[in-house]
């Protein structure tokens, strides 16, 4: 089945066919679905087969691989999120959907790297969201019993046959600016007052304000060649506070991202080798907004537009894909 937006009736028929799926849509459409082998999360922004779009009457469907032989769905909160690896199969992958800025989201983001066996199988996922102009709360769903949560995460663990394996690929248009100072933080946090900028203790909000740093550009850390973004949520100069969409870590060195002339063009270039046959893919709402993706088709990118992406860890301003291949 092709990954794309479907009508509620079409999705209902997939559920009747016992398809194992990850669904993304507005709360009012997800509420209409019957019980079945699915998990879901709220979001009304998508990259569909023809263009980026806002849709509250359709549901984006990712069939979680017809080769899958077994699956299980689990619900997690901040107290048991570290158990997630123990619930995985020996060979397979996990797709998790979380509500934003709830304790489970923060616990996973801060502790992921310490979870034993985190890299044994790919974990992908996304952070649920809502219409930015509406008064609503993001939700996640366990389709097995149609439970709906706003403070818990739902994950589906998929088992793959031995001759298959899953892998994650990411696309990040940002790279550290070589002219940026080195930024280090005193502890792992979503919010920071002071930090070390080129070794000198400095208030980050004041620094950003004084140097007119464009906060559409994330902080970027180098993970052995992977550029991992931490997007800036808010700079509160009055209180000297900078808030982030993902945590910054004490053990990492950050730099401001190199400025980009043409956001969408950069994205097009970076996704030339994007594999449209992936099992799952999602992209960040900040890319969608800053790059003005609505009404635009970018190569063959498809999937929900999310309030945070997960590729082993919580990522920002990143396109995440899960691919299943034969060994």
């Amino acid at each position: 089945m092709e990954s794309k937006l479907y009508s509620v009736d079409e999705v209902k028929s997939f559920i009747k066919q016992n398809k194992i799926m990850a669904l993304a849509g507005d709360e009012q459409v997800l509420d209409q679905l019957p019980e079945g082998h699915w998990i879901g999360g709220t979001i009304p922004y998508f990259m569909d087969e023809d263009a980026g779009k806002f849709a509250q009457d359709k549901i984006f469907v990712n069939e979680l691989d017809p080769k899958s032989s077994n699956y299980k769905i689990n619900v997690y909160d901040e107290n048991n999120i570290e158990q997630i690896i123990k619930d995985t199969f020996n060979n397979g992958f996990t797709l998790i959907i979380m509500p934003p800025f709830q304790k489970v989201h923060q616990a996973f983001a801060l502790k992921a790297e310490d979870i034993e066996g985190l890299y044994n199988n790919p974990i992908v996922g996304w952070i649920a969201g809502v219409d930015l102009n509406a008064d609503a709360t993001p939700k996640v769903y366990n389709g097995l019993n149609k439970e709906k949560f706003e403070d818990k995460a739902v994950a589906i663990h998929i088992e793959l046959p031995d001759d298959y394996f899953a892998q994650i690929d990411i696309t990040n248009i940002f790279e550290p600016d070589p002219e940026s100072p080195e930024i280090r933080f005193f502890f792992d946090t979503f919010d920071a007052l002071n930090c070390l900028i080129d070794g000198k203790e400095t208030n980050l909000a004041e620094y950003i304000d004084k140097h007119n740093i464009d906060i559409k550009l994330p902080l970027v850390a180098d993970y052995s060649g992977a550029h991992i973004n931490v997007s800036i949520k808010e700079v509160d100069v009055k209180n000297g506070l900078v808030s982030f969409f993902a945590p910054v870590f004490e053990s990492k060195v950050y730099r401001f991202a190199k400025p980009i002339d043409n956001y969408i063009n950069r994205f097009e270039v970076k996704t030339l080798d994007y594999n449209p046959d992936n099992v799952f893919s999602c992209n960040c709402i900040l890319n969608y907004l800053y790059g003005e993706f609505e009404g635009r088709k970018i190569n063959n990118i498809k999937g929900p537009i999310t309030f945070g992406e997960i590729g082993y860890q919580l990522l920002n301003q990143t396109l995440v894909s899960l691919i299943v291949d034969k060994n």
Binding site: F101, T137, I168, T189, L193, N327
Partner: protein, 235 residues
């Protein structure tokens, strides 16, 4: 582009180099990038040993050997390592509309959000202050260690100087005593002359004894030489 057909054995030195930072190669495979970063971090923090990290990463590289660019990364490490060296508040809206939006006025939401923010700010300030104080404490401890080392050094120096001063005073005293004994006034040197006569007598007696000692075979007399010498000096 070089590639590799299988995962090299874990005994290869390059694994250690990769995880200890001796070999800094920008990797291409996402799993490998993240795993190596995590392993380095955990080794640095003492959470796992280098050998455990190698075992783990080696097994996972085997599992994901067919993943995109894994062969290229391994080739770069194992076939080429000498050449390669080191290389609008979108979410904020959701915060404000989070759990308290049911039936409450926007003002109440704003107030709640503002209150939560202030609480968070306070907590953060306390945490940062705690961290700052901890850094200050460590700095002071370091200063204290340095001062203690300096104090010990100065104390040792003082002891040496005191000893030298005592020696100097002793010598000065001896010098003063000797100076007082000097027969500067030739008209009043009777005592000195008497002393000299006495010394000459002792010297003569010693010379006599010593010549006897040199010529005589082992005898009770010779054996009593030292006791007689002692007697002379005592006198």
């Amino acid at each position: 582009m070089k590639t590799i057909n299988s995962v090299p054995p874990k005994e290869r030195k390059e694994w250690r180099d990769l995880l200890t930072g001796n070999l800094n190669i920008p990797l291409k495979n996402f799993f490998f990038q993240m795993k190596v970063t995590q392993a380095k971090n955990q080794i640095a923090m003492g959470k796992i040993t280098l050998d455990e990290a190698i075992d783990d990463i080696h097994a996972l590289c085997k599992k994901f050997f067919k993943a995109k660019n894994m062969d290229v990364d391994l080739a770069n490490i194992f076939l080429n390592s000498n050449e390669l060296t080191t290389s609008d508040d979108v979410y904020g809206t959701t915060t404000e509309i989070s759990t308290e939006s049911n039936g409450q006025s926007q003002n109440e939401n704003v107030t709640t959000a503002e209150r939560k923010k202030q609480e968070m700010l306070e907590l953060l300030k306390v945490k940062e202050e705690k961290m700052r104080l901890e850094r200050e404490r460590q700095k002071l401890q370091e200063e204290r260690r340095k001062l203690e080392a300096e104090r010990i050094r100065l104390e040792a120096e003082k002891t040496i100087q005191e000893k030298l001063l005592k020696e100097k005073l002793k010598l000065k005293k001896q010098y003063e005593e000797l100076k007082q004994q000097e027969p500067f006034d030739k008209s009043d040197n009777t005592e000195v002359i008497e002393d000299n006569n006495e010394l000459n007598e002792v010297k003569n007696e010693l010379d006599k004894l010593f010549s006897e000692y040199k010529t005589e075979e082992d005898s009770p007399r010779k054996r009593s030489f030292f006791s007689r010498m002692f007697g002379i000096f005592k006198k």
